[in-house]
Subunit: 352 residues, 2 copies
Amino acid sequence: MRVTGNTRGSGAQRSVSIRDVATAAGVSHQTVSRVINGHPSVRASTRERVEAAIAELGFRRSATAHALASGRTRAVTVLTANTTHYGHAAILQGVEEAARAASFAVGISVLDSDDPRVVRDALDRATDAGGGLILIAYDRPGVRALHLAPEGVPLVAAVETPAAPPAAGSPWVWTDDRTAAREATEHLLALGHRTVHYLAIPSTTDSDGGAQRTAGWREALTRAGAVVPEPVEAGWTPAGGYAAGRRLTEDPAVTAVLCGNDDLAIGMLRALREAGREVPGDVSVAGFDDAPHSAFLTPALTTVRLDFTGVGRACFALLHGLVEQGDPISPHPVATPRLIVRESTGPAPGSR
Amino acid sequence: MRVTGNTRGSGAQRSVSIRDVATAAGVSHQTVSRVINGHPSVRASTRERVEAAIAELGFRRSATAHALASGRTRAVTVLTANTTHYGHAAILQGVEEAARAASFAVGISVLDSDDPRVVRDALDRATDAGGGLILIAYDRPGVRALHLAPEGVPLVAAVETPAAPPAAGSPWVWTDDRTAAREATEHLLALGHRTVHYLAIPSTTDSDGGAQRTAGWREALTRAGAVVPEPVEAGWTPAGGYAAGRRLTEDPAVTAVLCGNDDLAIGMLRALREAGREVPGDVSVAGFDDAPHSAFLTPALTTVRLDFTGVGRACFALLHGLVEQGDPISPHPVATPRLIVRESTGPAPGSR
DNA sequence: GACCCCTGTGTGACCGGTCACAATCCTGGC
DNA sequence: GCCAGGATTGTGACCGGTCACACAGGGGTC
C-alpha cells in the first residue's frame, strides 16, 4: 500500500461566532441565539435580518460551545463488542439513521473484551463524550458493561429477551427472540425430527436471565416431550460454527440443528458437507438473523429474521425521550421476528 | 444490585472541575491544568497532592471544555456509505482500534446516497463534530463526499487505487487492489480459461481514476491476449450479484467470473447453481475481500484477502499526524492483498 | 551583591455558546 | 391619558477548560 500527500495547506480560518453575526445584523448576541434556537418572541423583521447575516457569514453553531454552555450534548455513543457482525452493524445503522433524523451525532466505542478494566475504560470514554449511551448487550462484554455502567448517565440497552419483566426504569429494547427460537424449533419438530440440537452463541446468562434463545428452544422441546440435548456453545463466527459443528456431525442421531446466528449456520453447513451429510436430506439446519446473504447460500438458509435496524431506531428513540425532557419511557415497536423457511430445513430422514 | 469500585454513593450530577480539584489540593486551577497535561515544571510534591485530589474527587477532564478552549478536538468522524458491508465495517473497526489507542473518540456519519445535498449535509454534521474526517471513498457517495469536502478540515480518505499518483496534499490510503485484481485474473487464466468475466461493484470512475479493480482485471486479460468482455455492474449485495449472475449464466461461453466482492460472489454462486452449472466444474468464481464466512461457503470461495482493518488503522494514523502538529505524513504499512485459492476456482472445462 | 535565567506557581482573559434577569417598546383596558 | 403586562431585546455572568503573561525564589556568573 502507499500513502501520499503532505499537510493540506491553509486553514485555521477563525470560525464565525454568534457575536460576529450579531454585529453584522446590528443586534445583540443573545438575539442571534434566540433566532438559531427558534425562540418565538423575536420580531419577524429582526429574525430575517439575523438569518441573512447567518447565511452571508456562513455561520454554524459550534456544537462544542453549545454542549459546554447548555450541558446538553446532542450526541449518543454506541457501545458494542464488534462492528463487523451483521446484527451489531445493523443496529448501529439503525441508531445512526434515527440519530441523523434528530440531528444527533453518533459515536462508537468498542468493547474489546469483557475484562472489567477494559469495559470500564470504554464506558468512561463513552461518558466523556457527553450525551447518552446505547449499549448493545447481546454478548458478554455488553452485559458486563450494563452492570458496570455508571448511574446518572442516560443509557438504553439492546438486550436479549429478559426472563422476567425488567425493573421499571430500565430502558431496554429487545425483539422477542425467545418466541422466535421456540417457533424455529417447532418448525423443525413439525418436520418430524425427534429433537433439535442447538449450536449456541456464547451465553450471557446471568442474574438478568439472558440466553433466551436457548430458553425458547428448550421450551419448544419440552412442550413436545422431546429429549433436550446439551446446547453446544460455538461462539459467533463461521469458524466457531464449523468447529462445533464437526463434533455434532459425528453423532448420527443429529438430524436437526438450530444455530444461534447465521454465521454459525454457515459453519455448520460446511461441517455437514465435509462429513458427507446432505442438507436438508440428512440434517436440517436453521439460523438466526437473516443476514443479507443467507438467502443465497446453498442451500438457502431457513432462518429467523430479526429487525436489527428497528432495534437500533428504537434504542435511539428511547434515549432521545430520556434526554430531551423526562418523557416517560414509552415502549417502541420493533418488528416481530419472523421465521423464513427456505431450503436448509426439510422432513426428518425417516419420516417421509 | 451491587456497587463496585470506590465511588461513594453520591449521584453523579455536578461534575467536578479543575477549580474544585485546585481548592482541594490548595493550588491554583492552572496548576491542576498543568498536572493533567503532564507539564514538566511542577514540583513533584505538588503533583502528588493534585493527583491525590483528582483521585479523591473522581475528577475527569471535560472533553467538551477542553475542545472549546484548546480548539483541538480529540475525535475523528468516519464517513461511510454503509456500516453493514464487511469491508466498510472492518475499516471502521480498524479506525476505532487505532483511535482508542490514541484516546480519540470516533464518530460515524453515514452517507445515504450520493445526492449532493445529502452528502453535503453529512459532511457538515461531521465537520460540526470537530476533529478530523475519515472518508471511506470506495463508492459513489464516498467519492462525491471527497469532492465536496470543505478545505481546511483535516481529512484522510480510503480510496481505490488511484490511476495516477495522486496530487500532493491528498492524504489517501489504499491497498493495491489493482494488482490484486490482476493476480486473481491471472490465476483464472492460468487454469486454462479463455477469458474471465467481471461482475463489478458500482464504478466510481471519475476524474480521479477509480475502478482500479476493473483496470487490473482488464490489464491481465489484455496482457494474455484474451478477449475483454463487457464488465457487468452488479451493485454491492448478494441480491445484486444474483441478478447480474443470472444474466451471465445464460451465456455458455462464460467459464470464469471474477466478482467485485464476496457478497456478489455469493449471489453469483447461487445463480450458477440454479442454472445447474457446477462450480468449479463448469464455471470458476473468485471474489474479493475474504469476508469471514467466505472460507466456509460451498464451495469455499477463492478470493483476495484485503487488509481492511489495516486500512482503517492507517487512515487514523495519517489523520493523527495531520492533526497533532504537522508531522510529515508518513506512510503506514497495510498488508498487501493476497489471493487465497480455495474451492471455487478450477481448471477450465475443456482444458483437462 | 547585582543580574540573569530557570523553575514553579498564580492571575485573569478567552473559547462560543446559554442562562437569568433587567430594560425598553407597544398595545389594550379603563 | 395613564398604566399594567406581554413582547422584544440587551447585559453580563458562567460552563470548564487553555492560554499568555506576571511574579516569587533559587542558583550561577562575574
